[in-house]
């Protein structure tokens, strides 16, 4: 098992800076997502760890050994490309054996490991097929098998779930997670999809404009983003300007809310408050207590299992998401209630 560290890594392509500076520690056996919009440098980071690019400055360490300049062939890493890059002129079997064959592994050992890995990825009956005859999920399993058979110290994946349909996504997610835990292999994957990052990773590294913006567990990233940019990228839709007082009261256009001062780190000043749309209760009668906002339902979007309401409150629009056990009519007067521990605040200068 391998611990991966990036120390002050920078990458320039001519005059263009892809990564300005990244420090990242990935524990042995951890599953980490590099998340960011396209062009943010996440793929470049992955390629540097793989050895396909050499960092301009800084060092990449595997178990405290500097591998920054070790050629890709000798780095003992595995990578699954977004489009799998299965060799179209080879059968599943030949694809999987490729890595061992080019390294001159004895034939008997290749055979043995082939059988073993084909069982793991459940591809025994497809072994003589060509990639063109496989479905997306099967192709991905071939790509994973082809990589794992070489026993890489680090497994890398580029957008592992992006090319699969919804049903297969769930299946592959469980498959990757289970395999990763069973083998305990350090795994890093790249994605632009925050859902994919959260559903798969132990920790998520958010990269914006070639810089590490936040590195945290999925729930922390979702509940407690450290900038508006990250909150926005993680899919937050209720972000409002507010004045925060020393006593933990946030005053926004629609009213004043009490914050939980054990959770919120902002002490005083101008900032933004973040209300998670699924943490808001939509009530038809005025309740007692604090953190209640009065408003009118402006719109309704029905998604089947859940429903989104847009509620206008004091000139602002708050989105509320709830299970669709009932449907509230547009135009209805409502009261919104949110518990202090579900409110997060970000300072404006952050």
């Amino acid at each position: 098992m391998t611990k991966v560290q990036l120390k002050g890594v920078r990458k320039d392509f001519g005059a263009f800076t892809a990564i300005s500076q990244i420090d990242l520690d990935i524990n042995s056996g951890e599953l980490v997502a590099l998340l960011g919009p396209s062009g943010c440098g996440k793929t470049t980071t992955l390629r540097m760890i793989a050895g396909l690019e050499v960092p301009t400055y800084g060092h990449i360490l595997f178990d405290d050994d500097d591998v920054s300049e070790v050629p890709v062939q000798d780095r003992q890493v595995g990578m699954v490309f977004q489009r799998y890059a299965l060799f179209p002129h080879m059968t599943v079997e030949k694809n999987v054996m490729f890595g061992l064959k080019v390294r001159g592994t004895p034939k008997a050992e290749i055979e043995e490991r082939l059988e073993e890995i084909l069982d793991v990825v459940q591809l025994q009956q497809f072994r003589h097929r060509f990639p063109a005859q496989l479905s997306g999920g099967q192709m991905q399993r071939v790509a994973i098998a082809r990589t794992l058979i070489t026993k890489p110290s680090v497994l890398m994946m580029d957008e592992p779930l992006a090319n699969l349909d919804t049903k297969l996504r769930g299946e592959m997610r469980r498959f990757i997670r289970e395999l990763q835990q069973r083998l305990g292999i350090t795994t890093i994957f790249v994605t632009h999809d925050q859902i994919e990052a959260m559903e798969l990773a132990d920790r998520v590294a958010v990269i914006f404009d070639g810089k590490l913006a936040q590195y945290d567990a999925p729930d922390a990233l979702y509940q407690r983003p450290n900038s508006v940019e990250i909150a926005d990228f993680m899919g937050a839709n209720n972000i409002f300007a507010a004045q925060i007082s020393a006593s933990g009261l946030a005053t926004a256009a629609f009213g004043t809310l009490q914050l939980d001062r054990d959770i919120v780190t902002v002490r005083e000043g101008a900032g933004r408050i973040l209300l998670r749309s699924e943490a808001i209760d939509l009530l038809l009668e005025e309740p007692d207590g604090e953190n209640v906002i009065e408003g009118t339902v402006e719109g309704r979007e029905f998604f089947g299992a859940t429903v989104n309401y847009t509620v206008t409150c004091g000139g602002e629009i708050i989105t509320v998401n709830e299970q669709s056990r009932r449907l509230v009519e547009v135009g209805q007067k409502v009261w919104l209630r949110i518990e202090p521990r579900h409110i997060w605040a970000i300072r404006d200068d952050a």
Binding site: L52, G78, F81, F87, P88, V102
Partner: protein, 287 residues
């Protein structure tokens, strides 16, 4: 079986107009060969008869074969010698052209460098500058170098019009290949040479075959440059044909030679077509 299927597909999908249009195209392509075929089996075909006055079949006791074919197959026609020269030069040109264009196409498809577009334009110059101009200019130089009238000379001039085509074709193929496959192979531990042999070449093969076929066909069809550089010492099918029809008349033997000239191309096309379409095409590689 396959043909019947094709025909029914045609009938069911094409309108009457489309069918007539297809027939016209086929007529324009194949039409010119009809008089050649007739001529090659004629004994005497004088103007203004629409068909030969005397067919070879009627004069069988006078000549064993149709006049045209009797001449073409005899050593006097030098058809055999010209065919061998044509095929030999075509093959050598194709191999050298591939060796030059494969690395060049790789760079053009994948790298960015200053003056790349100017360089690409420069590459297509031979297609713009008239062949005669290139030919005359080179002939002067080649005579001085002693390359005129030699195979080397002819092969070098054949590379001039074939390289632009080949580079364009292979660049497109390389662009289509992308870098994923080669990078994947390297991550799996393959050396540069292993990547080339086990991944790049097998995957480029259809494009390489198409480019090679095209180069061969262009080379076997070049007349003017061959004529200049061959100096009459080395004859190929196009120069032989020219000497036959230079007088302005199309006699039976010229018709025969013309038909022979088309044969290598057609055979090659059929072989390649089959080779490229073969579904099990991939199975022969990477073993």
């Amino acid at each position: 079986m396959a043909r019947r299927k094709f025909k029914s597909a045609l009938n069911s999908r094409l309108s009457g107009f489309q069918k007539i249009y297809l027939l016209l195209i086929a007529g324009f392509i194949l039409g010119p060969f009809i008089p050649l075929l007739i001529q090659s089996f004629a004994f005497r075909w004088a103007w203004p008869d629409l068909l030969p006055g005397t067919w070879w079949l009627e004069q069988r006791e006078k000549s064993l074969l149709p006049l045209a074919w009797d001449y073409v197959l005899s050593p006097y026609s030098r058809v055999w010698e010209a065919t061998l020269n044509t095929v030999f030069i075509g093959l050598v040109v194709t191999v050298i052209c591939l060796a030059i264009c494969l690395p060049a196409a790789r760079v053009l498809a994948r790298e960015k460098f200053r003056g790349k577009s100017a360089f690409e334009f420069f590459l297509s110059m031979p297609l713009i500058v008239p062949e005669a101009a290139i030919g005359i200019a080179l002939l002067m130089i080649f005579i001085r170098l002693g390359l005129a009238g030699s195979y080397t000379g002819i092969i070098i001039v054949h590379l001039i019009p074939t390289i632009p085509y080949m580079i364009r074709m292979l660049t497109a193929v390389y662009q289509g290949l992308g870098t994923d496959f080669e990078e994947q192979a390297m991550i799996l531990g393959a050396s540069r040479w292993q990547v080339m042999r086990m991944v790049t070449l097998p995957m480029l093969l259809p494009g390489v075959v198409a480019g090679a076929l095209f180069t061969f066909l262009v080379s076997t069809n070049i007349f003017l440059l061959t004529f200049f550089m061959g100096q009459g010492k080395i004859i190929t099918l196009p120069t032989l044909l020219f000497s036959k029809i230079a007088g302005g008349t199309l006699d039976a033997s010229a018709a025969g030679i013309t038909l022979v000239v088309t044969v290598p191309g057609i055979i090659l096309l059929l072989i390649t077509e089959r080779f490229i379409k073969e579904e099990a095409f991939g199975k022969g590689f990477g073993n």
